[in-house]
Structures are given as C-alpha cells and as structure tokens.
Amino acid sequence: MGGSLTGVALDASVAFFNPGGMVFLPKSCVLIGGTGIMPKSAYLSPLTGTQTDMESQTFLPFHAYGAFKLNEKFALGLSINTPYGLGTKWNKDWEGRYISQEAKLTSIYFQPTVAYKVSEKLGIGAGFVYAHGTASIKKAVPVESSSSPYGTAKLEGNGNNFGFNAGLQVKFSDELSAGISYRSKIKIEVKDGDAKFTDIPASLQSQFPSTTTFNTTVNLPSVLSVAAGYHVTKEVLIHLETNPTGWSSYDSLNFTFPSEYNALNASGKNARKYKDAIAVRLGVQYSATKKLDVRAAAAFDQSPVKDGYVSPDLPDANKYVFALGFTYKITEALHVDASYLFETFTERQDVNKETMFGGSYKTLAHAAGLGINYNF
C-alpha cells in the first residue's frame, strides 16, 4: 500500500516485498498486473526564464507474483517485476543537450523464494534475485562541423547479476503483524555495450569512432523494509512501512571505452554521489463489502540526489505519493485490483557542480494500475 507491502500478507505481492509473509496467506495465489505511468517533468531555464517540458513518455512496468503453499509449513514464491524503470527525454536541441538528451534504465527482477512457518506467529523466507538491467543514454558531443552544430553519442548496453533477499513476518495477534525484509544491492556490469557516435567531423572520427564498445557498472540499491499492519476493526487495516534504501552505492556513473579512445575515457566520468534515502508509506484498507476492498495511501519518498548533483537525466527531488485503489472480488477465487497513483516531486532548484547546469525542476507523475488475483 503506497508502493510496498511488507508488514502483512494481503496478496501474492508479498512474494516480492517480504517472502516471510507467504506462509500467512490463506491460500496459494497469483497476482498479475501492470501499470501505466505518465511522468511529466518541466525545467525552468535561468537563461531564458521560461519553462521547457520534457517530452511525454508512458512507462509500462509489470509484475507477476505467485505464492504457492506447499503445506502448512512451507511456501514457494516467485516474483517477476520491473522495480527500476526510468526514462527521460528532452528535445534534442535543448540547452542541456550536452548533459542529456535521453536516458533510460530498465530492470527485470526474477526473485524465487522459499518460506517456512517457524511457528504460528513467525514466518521466514529467503531467496535469490536475478536482475537483468538495460541502460541507454543519448547526448550531444561538443564538436562542430559545417554540417552539424554538434555530434551525438548514443550508448546502449545491458547486464545482469544475482542478489539475495530475505524477510520475516511476525503475526503478534489477529490484529497486529509486522515484517522486516531486505533485498541486497545488485551490481549490474554492462560489458561491451554499443557506443555510437554520429555527426562527428571527419577529422575527429579517430577520437569519436562511429561504433565502439563501452563498459559501465550500475548499482541497483539495497532496500531494507520495516513495516507493521494493524486491524483497527475487522474492516479497517492500517499499514505503515519504511524503506531505507542504500542509494549511496551509486557514487558515480563512469563509461569506459577501449584504451585507444582515451579522450572519451576522460570525459566519461560522471559523479552521482547519491546518499542513502528513506521512504515512509502509510496505507489504509477498508473492506467496504464482502466483495469490495478500497484503499488509500500516502507516502513520502526522499530523494537520494544531493544538492549540487541534480541532473536533467534524472531530475529527482523529494516526492509525495497519493494513491487510491480497490479490489473487487468477482468470485471467491478471482479478484480484480485497480489503482490510481499521483506523485508530486517538490520543486527543486539546483546547479550541478560538475556540469554547471542549473535551473528549477518540477515533476508530476500519474499512474494507473490494473491487476488480477487468482486464489486457489
């Protein structure tokens, strides 16, 4: 609720958020869904005093969760989702073109887990995470020829790696439960990605080859989740969760090119210096009828980007999230989820210490989600 569900076992999403909770699900269940996210970002230039809107894009993260109860003691879980999917796209001629024209990061997590009910009150679970990440960036290169005012660099690559996750959930009573889970950092090493340089003057093509390779590393952060759920009445459930996230692992984004392109290597270093950040999420669920649960949630999501490091490829800021949703039980076994989420970033003014690119940023995002639950 509000983006995470670690403290109670409501549906199969617990396979992702806290495998320890799977043993407290009443039945085996599967949840498949997707979301359409439409972020809208704007930048206010100190040079012109006017606003530039980011080009509109829609992102479609999806999730498929399954929690299978083998017996009273054991459950198996599988989670497939896309937890870090981000992208920005500015007009290619805009004044920040030498920093970013386009950036995109997508990830898919496969997370198989096993859970064990230690007692009627305690469930534990653990598993590994296999992550596959794809990253692409596009930006202008400051070289002029008679046919083009700048060149273009496009880097695209992917990589994968393993991590682990573990969690436990405690059911203190019918009313109160709590959970802790941890997902490790995953270091995605992109090897031999494709680098393409276009519109480069002929005399500089030995420095900026039309195609070459690059390596980079993207650290997807560790997440610790601590949460509790409390049934105020039989119909009303309150869930409070906090997620300290180890963003400080994202210190820099460096692109390494083959040694013959040393000039590229010198310019391929980007300080990020993210700090660890925390999110706090509060959700309320009300079982309105036997067939309908409605939910509302609010969250505060702290930005890991420090002052002096805000960049238009990810104009991050502290975020407030408001969400509404419902589950409609068509039959005992088949439920439909729908949700709407609104995210507002606080307006942020900054000058990047490395690129000296400054201005104000504001982002809003709207997301609509649909899901189908099947319990068996």
Binding site: K40, S41, A42, Y43, L44, P46, L47, T48, G49, T50, Q51, D53, E95, G96, R97, Y98, I99, K139, P142, V143, E144, S145, S146, P201, A202, S203, L204, A288, T289, K291, L292, V294, F322, L324, F326, Y340, F342, T344, E347, E354, T355, M356, F357, S360, K362, T363, L364, H366
Partner: protein, 448 residues
Amino acid sequence: MMRSKLVSFFFLSVTAFCLNSCKPELNELTFSNNGVDFSNYVAIGNSLTAGYMDGALYKEGQENSYPSILAKQFKYVGGGKFVQPLTNSNIGIGVDVTTFSFNSKYVLGYKTSCAQEVSLSPVPFAATGDPTALAYIGGPTYNNMGVPGMRSFNLDSASFGDPNILISLNPFYSRFATSPGNSTVLSDAKRQLPTFFTFWLGSNDVLGYALAGGDDALDKMTPLTIFKNNIGDALNSLAATGAKGAVANIPAVVDIPYFTTIPYNALVLTQAEADALDSTYATNNPPISFVAGNNPFVIKDGNGKRQMKAGELVLLSLPLDSVYCAGWGSNSLKPLDDRYVLTTPEINSINGNTTQFNNFLKAKADSLDLAYVDMNAFFKSTQSGIVFNGVTFTPQFVSGGAFSLDGVHPNGKGYALLANEYIKAINNKYGSRIPMSDVNAYKGITFP
C-alpha cells in the same frame, strides 16, 4: 450504497487531481534592469569588441561579437536595436602583424609540413583578404564602435579615420566613420547619446608590443600617462552624459594561446643531432648544449644568442616548418628572431604595464560608478577550465573550444563567455537581473 459512494469518490478524486495538477508549472523568472536604461547601448573597443576572430573581420564573426550577444541579453530588460557595421564578406579581411599584409579569415584545414606530415591546422580561407569588407558604409552611426587595432590614443583622433593620412589611418574605422578625417571613434559614439555603454580598450596598448615579440623596432607599449589621459578623458565625457556603463580591463598575455601554444622547449632532437649541434656552439657564451628529447630554442639575445628559459614564451607566429626543416632555433646561424619570442624581461615589462593600466581602469570605473569587468582574472580562471552547461572550455589552442584560430581572439562561444562576465559585473554593480547568454548556442570551431 456504500460501495457506489466510494467508487464515485474515487473517480471524483482522480478527476480533481488531474485538473489541478496534470502538468507541472514553474513560475517564470522575471528579469529586471533595476532602473538602468539599456535602450541605446553603444560598445567601444578594439578588435575584441568588433567581433574579430580567426585572424579577420568577417560577417559571421561580427554576428558573434560580445556586444551583439550582450545586446540580445539586454533585450530581456528593455534593450533596443543594436546595429553593427557588418561587412558583407565571409572571406573577411585581417592584418597579419608579422608580414603587414591583408589576409582572409583562417579556417581549420589540413596542412602538410616540410616533413610531409599532414595535420589539422589553421589555413587561410582565401589567398588574400576581401577588400570589399573595407568598403565605406559610414553615414549612419553604429552601436558597435569596436575598431580592430585601436589603442587608447586613437580613440579621439580624427586622423585615425582619415584615408589621406596613411601613417595613422585605420581602415577598420575609416570604413564606418560618420565623417572620415573629421569624426573620431569617441565622437561617433557620443553622438548616438548612448544610455548604456561598454568600454574595453587598452589591450593593444600592451598587446601590440607583445604580438611583435617585444621587438621595440616593430611596436612599443603606450606610455602610462598617454594611456591615462586618453582613457580618462573618454570615460569622463561618456559618464558625464549620465549614461551607465561597464569598463573591462586587460587580460594577461600569458593567458592567451598565441603565447602559450608552442612550448619554450619544443625543439626535439635525437642524441646524434644534439651532439652535432653541440660542436657548433662550443665557444658560445653563455654555454649552449643539447640533449636527446626536448630542448629549449636558441634565440637572439642582444648581439649574442642563448637558449630559452622556462617561463619564456614562443609566439604562434613562429613558422614551425622553418624550425623543423631549416634549423630555426637550433642552427647556430639561425637563432630565433626577437619578434617570435617574449623573454623574461619583456614579459615582466608587459605584465608591469598591464597591472598599471588595469589599476587605472579600476580606479576610473569606481570613481565614475561604472561596472568593472575583471577580464584579467577571468582569463586566468579559464586556465583550469570553465564549464558551461556540460561543456568544458580551456584556453588551449583549437581544442580548448573558446579561442578562435588566430590564438588571440575568442570564437563566438568565447565571446559569449566574455558577454557573461559583463553581465555578472553589470548585475553586480547595478542590481539588475540580466540573464546569462547560452554560450553553446554560438559559433565555435568548425572542424573539417
């Protein structure tokens, strides 16, 4: 009942959210002149003000001059029309100070050295300069009163634009003087009744000497009293009209690629070459010897010759083919001529004068309540590289991105950086809020 209410609440909320905040809105910035009248801006100066670049005055260069960039920024705060004395030529015309001939602009091309090595190098765009660029277009006045080559004492001199007095004639002024032989740069500037002016003069009063390698026979620095009298009178009379303005000072010669591109020890020798040369200098006083690798050039020093010392400067005008294939700077009969070299005493005297001139400019700007643009400090700060919106600029010749192909004048991006220094100083002095120019939008170096 309950359910339908909740569902409708849900959809109403969604609609309300969307109506209020579907699109982010940022408050537009307001710029302000804080009471300063920028409606009639006149720029006074030398080649740096004229938009001279790539060794010539040409149309595209002029369109990238810092006064034209400033005028665009002034438009945000009430600036008016800014008319430049544009040449109608993109071949351009410039004066080659080493040969005293008229050249075209330089472009980056390929040059084959005497050793048959091909490399990127500035090459003339045309065999000679375009004389039509000097055709008379005077009569009307022009907001950009930048005249290449102008020194302090030319500012109010009628003979500076007089086609009949060749010894003092400057064709770059004569071409747009309202009345050649009668009007002066200063009188043409003042008759426009500027409400705001920029004033950047004095570089040639020291740089002319520096560009001549400190060769007194070719050029001399302006004596301080003459500099003070001419600049002082001009600034007094401009400020007396009530116009506001900005005065820029003189950059240090050691911060310009024309003097820093060729190292003092760029003479590369093999051991055999070094040994052979050593024998030809056996009796020289001071002793001269060579090693394998980099060696200081041999230069004329008074009647004798000596090797250069660290800190001394070689000018970009040095013909490198003569160094590599004709023994210049190594052969005992061919020490480098004074005109290609700034020695330590010459550098000290240039720096000394620069400091004195700048002290005067600063005092004058302060006393007349004008903005003071410390270009000297700015050029120094560029040594370590300055970053604008993700692009790093350094004073490196060609690759640094800010200087044009003559190694003395900035290119369009460099001029935009200078315009931004003006804007900072003006905002700081007058409390105005004029936005910086977008440096990356201007012309840089075009690579083939």
